[in-house]
Assembly symmetry: C2
């Protein structure tokens, strides 16, 4: 095999690692890929780690032990997160996006891959240490962000539905009280999750917390613990939500008036 240069090895490794966030690659797998010795790969990884730090490209970590190796996590620094979310808030604030009933039109934001991927990375940064086994969301608008978060965490996405579907097999159905006080149903295929797993709930919008509460109770039915509940946007009112410990990237207030005005601000913890 023609000798492969360091800059080629490092570039290729960067792509492989970042294409599979949070997955552990053994040193051996890279040794085979490049026909290099372990000591050479070790040096490459040290240099790559420094490069990632230097340019704020996420973190490259060595994991020790039998199942050890190297992994990439697209962590976002607090400064970078604040900048990204502040820019989003500026885009969303004002009168143009306010809809009748005090709703905000922001579906476009929730479906732009660049924006969604950055939001997913910001959320994953918060929850890496709690090691969720999967991300849970409710159909529909939160699915892209939940998927991006699951991608950054290297875990599957599980989607709860409003009703059971013929193509999902036997399912667990629960009832929950929605924000408007109506009784709604939520359904999840029995095949979707395993007992004793850890779930991270990610959704687009938090108002009263009825749907989020429903998802928490759905997980209880599966004997799965919820290690966090995260949202793109939470309304300032009501202050007390029906779940505790919820974390949102942005807060929404609608100022009444002609025209009404949306005031969207970054969350305090950013």
């Amino acid at each position: 095999m023609e000798k492969i240069r360091r800059n080629e090895r490092m570039s290729a490794m960067m792509r492989h690692l970042s294409a599979h966030p949070n997955r552990i690659f053994t040193l051996n797998s890279f040794c085979e890929m490049f026909g290099s010795a372990k000591s050479t790969m070790s040096e490459d990884i040290d240099l790559l780690r420094e490069t990632a730090e230097m340019f704020s490209l996420g973190s490259i970590e060595t994991v020790t032990g039998a199942a050890g190796g190297v992994r990439y996590r697209p962590v976002v620094s607090p400064e970078a997160a604040r900048k990204i979310i502040s820019e989003l808030c500026a885009e969303l604030s004002g009168s143009e996006r306010v809809l009748p009933g005090g709703f905000l039109y922001y579906s476009d934001i929730l479906s732009m891959p660049d924006t969604v991927n950055r939001m997913g990375e910001i959320l994953a940064t918060v929850y890496y240490d709690r090691e969720p086994d999967f991300v849970l969301t409710m159909e529909t608008k939160g699915i892209p962000v939940a998927f991006a978060t699951a991608n950054a965490l290297g875990v599957p996405l599980v989607i709860a539905r409003h009703s059971s579907k013929v193509y999902e097999g036997s399912a667990v159905n629960i009832n929950y009280v929605s924000g408007s006080g109506s009784i709604e149903t939520m359904s999840l295929s029995r095949r979707a999750v395993k007992e004793n797993q850890k779930a991270l709930i990610v959704d687009d919008f938090l108002k009263g917390g009825g749907t989020a509460r429903g998802m928490v109770e759905l997980m209880r039915e599966f004997n799965v613990s919820v290690i966090g509940t995260a949202f793109v946007m939470a309304t300032a009112e009501p202050e007390k939500k029906r779940i505790s410990g919820a974390r949102a990237l942005m807060t929404l207030k609608i100022r009444e008036g002609e025209p009404a005005e949306a005031v969207v601000t970054p969350a305090d913890w950013l």
Copy 2:
């Protein structure tokens, strides 16, 4: 600024380019990032292009002209695509996933980030040249794959809904005939797309093509042309679909029996 080495510049560029698929980065932006001359960046890019080719990491292309620069496309070779899809087919075939009514349980596959990202890259590879302005899908199970395809294409994802929503503003609603012959509705916010744009339709499942046909007609209402319709899985029967030119990654046949058996095969074009 301390002199930044080639291997550091190339690794950082690889991450930046692949974090924003199909986006054009000007040479100047990299010159600023690294404090390097244009000629240096040009050499770096040539080396990066060769590295990407050598290790089948996608393609790095120089785009000439006023709005020119360099971009990364996560293209997948036909051989790699066939291997990925064949492995999926093996996983999905057999009796374990067959549900009453001849349905197949594969929601798990549709929500695993690694798998979904590879499927999105395979589909994007097909459609780069037609330059869609956005990807359109219908809620719900196809959203992750449609998002991954949109991400690889560097364009927004647009999600059509079953009914109009309070948080979407004024919408266009159409009726369409579903596979089972019932009349269904499909809705899309007026704000979601612009006239004269080009749409790529991506969804999880194609059986009769009623829903796909609905999406094509929805786009007609917006004066948007459809440059392709792509699916994760299409049933072998009925052979004639209600849309023409549909492309699927896999074909599904259910063999009756005790137990019934799913035969999932890679599409011919792979």
